[in-house]
């Protein structure tokens, strides 16, 4: 077999062998050190075999007063993190999925303008979860509302039921922008997941919040609303906030200040 290298290459002093030993040493060193590093990560993240806990309720505070006009960094960050095509680049804008969008409000009487991001509100009593015939639309113990990509039949009943127009159907085959940890698929419904892949990795925040903070607007705060010491809980205690369509009494995971 001509592909086989001559025996001399595997001699104790051959370059391949030296590289192999070098790599093996580095791997051994890594294996010794990584568990320590990993332990720090796991302290915040969640091992795959452990279920989400209802002791946590993930939530978001949107300070509409800080949300800048014309800025859509949160939308771009969401699109990049989760792999959906920005609507401006879509050939079918009315059919393109939008997990988060900037909403511009104006009071016709006073002319006052308000900016805010609108996305899945992660209701505690989610209408989309109630109406889903197969149970594909579900709420995780930690309050995140998700769609099971394997059991969604694309009936769109959840889209009829959502008071926030937060959900999109994937109308056409997806291109290669898909992310390995964000499963999507034609004919299925999807929406904001609170970047569940980041949360489960232990990032403790979402792409939109990171982008808003990086831009210096600080209009978004994410965290555990059940933890009285979390930043979001502290801010929610101080700021007057509202839930959109509070009349529906859905107990939302997203709270707005300045609306």
């Amino acid at each position: 077999m001509s592909e086989l290298k001559p025996m001399s290459d595997n001699a104790p002093d051959s370059p391949e062998r030296r590289r192999f030993i070098g790599a093996a040493t580095a791997t051994a060193a890594g294996l010794t050190l990584v568990p320590g590093v990993m332990l720090i990560e796991v302290a915040h993240g969640r091992p795959e075999d452990q279920a989400a806990s209802s002791a946590v309720r993930w939530g978001m505070l949107v300070d509409a007063n800080q949300c800048a006009t014309g800025c859509d960094d949160c939308v771009t960050a969401c699109s990049t993190e989760n792999g959906w095509t920005p609507v401006a680049e879509s050939a079918h804008p009315t059919q393109a999925p939008q997990w988060i969008r900037k909403l511009e409000l104006q009071d016709p009487l006073t002319q006052m303008e308000t900016n805010l991001p609108m996305m899945c509100q992660h209701c505690a009593d989610a209408p989309c979860v109630d109406v889903c015939p197969t149970g594909a639309s579900f709420k995780r113990a930690d309050g995140i509302v998700l769609v099971n990509r394997h059991t969604c039949i694309g009936c769109r009943y959840c889209m009829m039921a959502c008071p926030y127009k937060a959900r999109s159907l994937v109308h056409e085959s997806l291109n290669d922008t898909q992310k390995p940890d964000v499963p999507r698929g034609i004919g299925c419904v999807e929406s904001c997941t609170f970047c569940v892949q980041k949360i489960d990795r232990g990032d403790g925040t979402t792409a939109c919040v990171e982008a808003c903070t990086a831009a210096g607007h600080n209009a978004l705060v994410f965290g555990d609303m059940n933890d009285p010491e979390s930043e979001i809980s502290k801010r929610l205690r101080e700021l007057p906030t509202k839930q959109v369509r509070a009349d529906l009494n859905l107990n939302l995971g997203v709270r707005y200040h300045g609306i």
Partner: protein
């Protein structure tokens, strides 16, 4: 009670096979439409993330509602013990099954993942009205099928009343479920009301009977069997009552909405400013679907069979217009997340949503209609569903 002879339709004439072929062609078009939608995704439809249920749902819900109504005559015969209607019951049952089949096929073939139908049959969320409907539809086939069996097989004839009563209660529950698909939705102003369930029931009476009368008349005319006026006059009067009742429900529904300030803009949209929806409401649902048929059925015109047929056709067209306004009109009006504020976004918030049905959607819907009629056409050939004669003398004997 006089006995009635039921006989299969011969079904060997070129005319029969032409009808069969014509309907089959539309079933084929429907299959091709589904294949296109399934292959390319809903991108080839006029539906989008604003109008999520489109023309296929209009056809599907119309057929499902009409299916329940097509059972009217069988119910009157067995539950309310009117022997005059007994000869009409077998066709009533088969038409009802056929319409249900057509409607359900359109509904499931319009799913984003119609290949996952098995998931819908194996995963249930009992909080969902859709899940309840899955059971209501399945039960409907079982009960109406059993009822039909009791009508066709003398050995189980004694169970006919029990089966008929069960089917009657079931179909009322089923249409309550269909109306509640919309009635249980809180997000949209025009839904979220208990009114929709009884309104759908009365609509089912009207649409189902109109379809039944057209099928009955066509079957008797095309096979040369006698169909007397005595029966037609009774049925057209019954139809007029149903149409008037639908109109009553529609008026009360909109009047109630108009009384609430929060509903004013959505009512203004449907009744005045909604363009195609306003036109379909006033011209389609009210004028063509209700007022004209009432005028025809309640005046001297209603004594002529051709005019009764025109009234039935108008009721069916009006019914489709009603479903279009109910299903698509309600979605076209933007969600009011921030009452009193003007909203703008890249996701078309705050603006009226546009919808243009595509060719595949239309043919998928028509395919459902075609399959319902095809099943009926085939059933009357292979089963003894139609009395050999329904002339006045035969019908008169039944009353005594």
């Amino acid at each position: 009670m006089a006995s009635i002879t039921f006989r299969e339709v011969d079904g060997s004439s070129p005319k029969y096979w032409m009808l069969f072929g014509f309907l089959g062609l539309f079933v084929l078009f429907g299959a091709l439409a589904w294949n296109t939608m399934h292959h390319h995704g809903h991108v080839v439809t006029g539906m989008n993330n604003q109008i999520v249920w489109g023309l296929p749902h209009v056809f599907a819900v119309f057929l499902i509602v009409a299916a329940s109504g097509a059972l009217n005559l069988a119910s009157i015969a067995s539950v309310f013990n009117k022997p005059m209607y007994k000869p009409l019951a077998p066709l009533s049952a088969i038409l009802s099954l056929a319409l249900m089949l057509g409607g359900l096929l359109v509904l499931v073939l319009d799913l984003g993942r119609s290949d996952r139908l098995i998931v819908a049959m194996t995963h249930f969320n009992f909080m969902s009205m859709f899940t309840w409907n899955v059971f209501l539809y399945s039960g409907f086939f079982v009960l109406v099928g059993a009822y039909l069996w009791t009508m066709l097989d003398r050995s189980v004839k004694s169970y006919s009343k029990a089966a008929g009563t069960a089917a009657f209660i079931w179909r009322l529950t089923l249409t309550t479920g269909t109306g509640s698909l919309f009635g249980f939705l809180i997000a949209r102003e025009l839904y979220g009301t208990a009114m929709l369930a009884p309104m759908f029931i009365i609509m089912s009476f009207s649409y189902g009977l109109a379809i039944y009368l057209m099928v009955l008349t066509a079957a008797y005319a095309w096979t040369g069997r006698p169909l007397g006026d005595a029966l037609m006059m009774r049925l057209k009067s019954l139809l007029a009552v149903f149409v008037a009742a639908v109109l009553y429900f529609v008026v009360v529904y909109h009047l109630t909405n108009l009384y609430f300030a929060k509903m004013e803009s959505v009512e203004a949209f449907i009744l005045r400013d909604g363009g195609i929806f306003t036109m379909l409401f006033w011209v389609g649902q009210i004028a063509i679907g209700s007022v004209l048929p009432l005028v025809i059925l309640l005046t001297g015109l209603g004594r002529q069979r051709s005019w009764i047929m025109i009234a039935c056709a108008l009721i069916i067209l009006g019914g489709i217009a009603q479903m279009y306004v109910t299903i698509i009109g309600a979605q076209a009006f933007p969600l009011d997340m921030f009452p009193g504020m003007l909203e703008k976004s890249s996701f078309f918030d705050g603006e009226v949503h546009h919808y243009s049905p595509s060719v595949p959607e239309l043919f998928l819907g028509l395919g459902g209609v075609a399959i319902a009629l095809l099943v009926t056409t085939f059933a009357v050939k292979v089963l003894r569903l139609l009395p050999a004669s329904l002339d006045d003398a035969t019908v008169a004997k039944l009353e005594h």
